[in-house]
Amino acid sequence: MVKSLLRRGGQRADARPRWRLSKRARDSLKAYLFVSPWIISLLVFTAYPMIASFYFAMTEYTILNPPRWVGLQNFKVMFTKDPLYWKSVWNTVYYTLFSVPLGLIVALLLALLLNQRSHGIGLYRTAYYLPGLMPAVASTLLWMVLLDPRLGLVNAALRAVGLPPLGWLRSATWSKPALILMSIWSGSGGTMLIFLAGLKEIPESLQEAAKIDGANAWQRFRHVVLPLLTPTIFFNLVMGIINSFQVFTTAFVAGAQTGGAGPLNSLLMYMLLLYRYGFRYFNMGHASAMALVMFIALVLITLALIRSSSYWVYYEAGGRR
């Protein structure tokens, strides 16, 4: 009887079979365990707030009281009854249309200049990157002094070359260009580093071959460097658009000087209006609706850019996507 109770290897016959995972399953489980902290934080701190925000967008929610379902009422008010909504959309689109291309051009030029092997080049790269490290509030306050219409250095420079001084942040016409200037100054450093990395990836052999074939610097840039840099340009373009849509701190700080959002609400950016609805007007439902609209807009723009990339983004390995 004892013998019959034993299996080969001494295992008891009446023992429950052990559930044995395959090696692949065990490896997968280990992998998930290792990334679980990240997944949990993604679910708790990103996915849940996003889903909650989508829900709040359909409610009247003051934070102080439980949300009350109102369906699409927030969207109706936003699109048809709030004149400042379209003002903020226009301000943000204006800002994006100028700050992103100009920022890319400046960053690319800087990267080309700094893509040299020369003594002290590391210092120059650091110097151009440093503005990006400055806290947004501090850099905005600094620029507000520089752009002071009476005493600022920028207008002093304009006067010195015989040009009329500008109102900058005190002018409805020039306040957004002032913000764009600030964004280029602070944002170009990081974009420049990414372009620099992209430039380093371009094989020297291709440039040398072009040189041997008689191509001048501009032709080498136009026909070798630029096409191979398009993946980096594409990445910076997408990130630039996403970041520019979310401009808040500079507009908030600069606008405060003129009572809130600049002359004639010229600095009332989308995120600033969203913030006002959420935390000044106790209308988190409306703010969430605005956030949802921005999310959809950014998804559509990003998808459009990805679709368009097949026409103008080149990858070294296999041509266009």
Binding site: P263, R276, Y281
Partner: protein
């Protein structure tokens, strides 16, 4: 020597016998949130809180003077979150009108506690500052300060122009004030180098300018906005005319000529570029004006009947869900009454409490202008507060304020007429108000 004698300090709390801990009372710790951060706040508030704790030895106050909530973050965001989560601080100081919170059910009504209060009975406060804490007949906080607004004048510049700098000689009407302002306006080579009065410089005083012309912005009793009244249209039309007649008619060009606004350092007033400017009582000591000045009442508009003022309080509230509301009330009562006497010795922030000792003066003001003059200025503000307009009393105060500021900006930029701008502002504010009232 007597004129230079320092102001009598308030009786320190230790001279008053501390309340004996009643047998049934256990020691409690209450939390107090605030946004104070300046060196004077860091010096004075611990002292005031210490006096309170001596008076009520069973209560300890947990607080910090760091400019924001414990742990950092935006004050209002964190406070809203904690109230929503049901674990708010026991008491908070607000720089945002409390009616907005009260109307949404997030503050505790304190009328019952005020009935039996030692100092903070309803009749002990100036009417309008207390009304700024009231919603639909209930009181949801206390105002500690009610710094009245006024016009500051540069007495030396007045004398240079042969104009009497005495308060009683200051013009009583808009027309006379505009005429006076014109005397100080100087244009050199097409640029404005000196201004008189810039009436639109202080947005927090817009309710005052409306009231000076017999108008109103928000009718709290009937819960409706009245922005587009004839009196308000007349008020803004007057300002446009003032801009055209004295300052070139182009508001953006005008703004380039100087840092108009207020009386603080780097303002046109302190730089000597402007002879008159608007501010509140606290600026008498806080702004450190380096020359002789006078404070005068606002002039009355064509449609107005008397000179009125505004006020800008610190509000002290007890959020709903506070763990120790009774002790929290004792704290805010003390801070807004006897405790503020101590604060007032350092900063001339006119108390909202009427039973304030008349012998207590701000030492800095006494040092600056002498005892008799300091007393006179104190009495000026205390008396003017009796003529305050209703302010800060709308459940959509911030929305309305932003909307009105935009409207006035459009009028001064001449992109809209006063009628158009105020009509649009009226429609927006009334719609928002109705939306909020329906949801309450």
């Amino acid at each position: 020597m007597a004129a230079c004698a320092p102001a009598t300090p308030p009786a320190p709390a230790e001279e008053k016998p501390a309340e004996e801990v009643p047998a049934e009372k256990e020691k409690v710790t209450i939390s107090w949130w605030n946004q104070f951060s300046t060196p004077i706040c860091q010096e004075m508030f611990p002292r005031i809180v210490g006096d309170f704790e001596e008076l009520y030895p069973w209560v300890t106050v947990d607080f910090e003077i760091s400019g924001g909530p414990p742990g950092g973050g935006n004050y209002i965001e964190v406070l809203l979150s904690r109230i929503a989560a049901g674990n708010p601080p026991d008491t908070a100081t607000l720089w945002t009108p409390p009616v907005q919170f009260a109307a949404r059910g997030s503050l505790m009504a304190i009328d019952e506690m005020m009935k039996d209060a030692k100092w903070a009975r309803p009749e002990s406060f100036y009417e309008k500052p207390l009304r700024s804490c009231q919603w639909r007949g209930e009181t949801y906080g206390l105002p500690s300060s009610a710094g009245p607004g006024c016009i500051f004048t540069n007495t030396a510049q007045f004398e240079e122009k042969g104009v009497s700098p005495n308060r009683d000689d200051f013009p009583k009407t808009w027309e006379d004030t505009k005429e006076l302002s014109a005397k100080f306006v100087v244009w050199e080579d097409g640029e404005l180098t000196h201004a008189g009065l810039v009436p639109w410089e202080a947005s927090w005083l817009y309710p005052v300018w409306s009231g000076l012309n017999g108008g109103q912005l928000f009718d709290a009793e009937n819960e409706r906005y009245v922005l587009d009244s004839d009196a308000n249209v007349e008020w803004l039309s007057y300002w446009v005319q003032w801009l055209d007649d004295q300052y070139g008619g182009d508001i953006e060009q005008f703004n380039l000529y100087g840092p108009w606004g207020g009386v603080y350092p780097e303002s046109a007033f302190q730089l000597g570029l402007c002879s008159m400017a608007q501010s509140g009582s606290w600026a008498c000591t806080d702004a450190e004006i380096p020359f002789a000045w006078e404070v005068v009442r606002f002039p009355v508009g064509p449609n107005g009947t008397k000179s009125v003022t505004g006020f800008w309080p610190n509000w002290w509230v007890i959020p709903k869900g506070a763990s120790h509301p009774k002790e929290a009330f004792l704290f805010i009562e003390y801070l807004c009454t006897k405790g503020w006497e101590t604060w007032y010795t350092a900063v001339m922030d006119t108390p909202a409490w009427k039973d304030f000792s008349p012998d207590i003066l701000t030492q800095k003001l006494v040092d600056q202008v002498g005892l008799e003059r300091a007393k006179e200025i104190h009495q000026f503000f205390a008396a003017y507060l009796e003529d305050a307009v209703d302010m800060w009393n709308s459940p959509i105060e911030d929305f309305a304020s932003d909307t009105l500021n935009s409207a006035i900006d459009e009028v001064l930029h001449k992109t809209k007429t006063p009628t158009e701008a105020l009509q649009e502002a009226q429609d927006l504010c009334q719609a928002k108000l109705e939306e909020v009232l329906q949801s309450i």
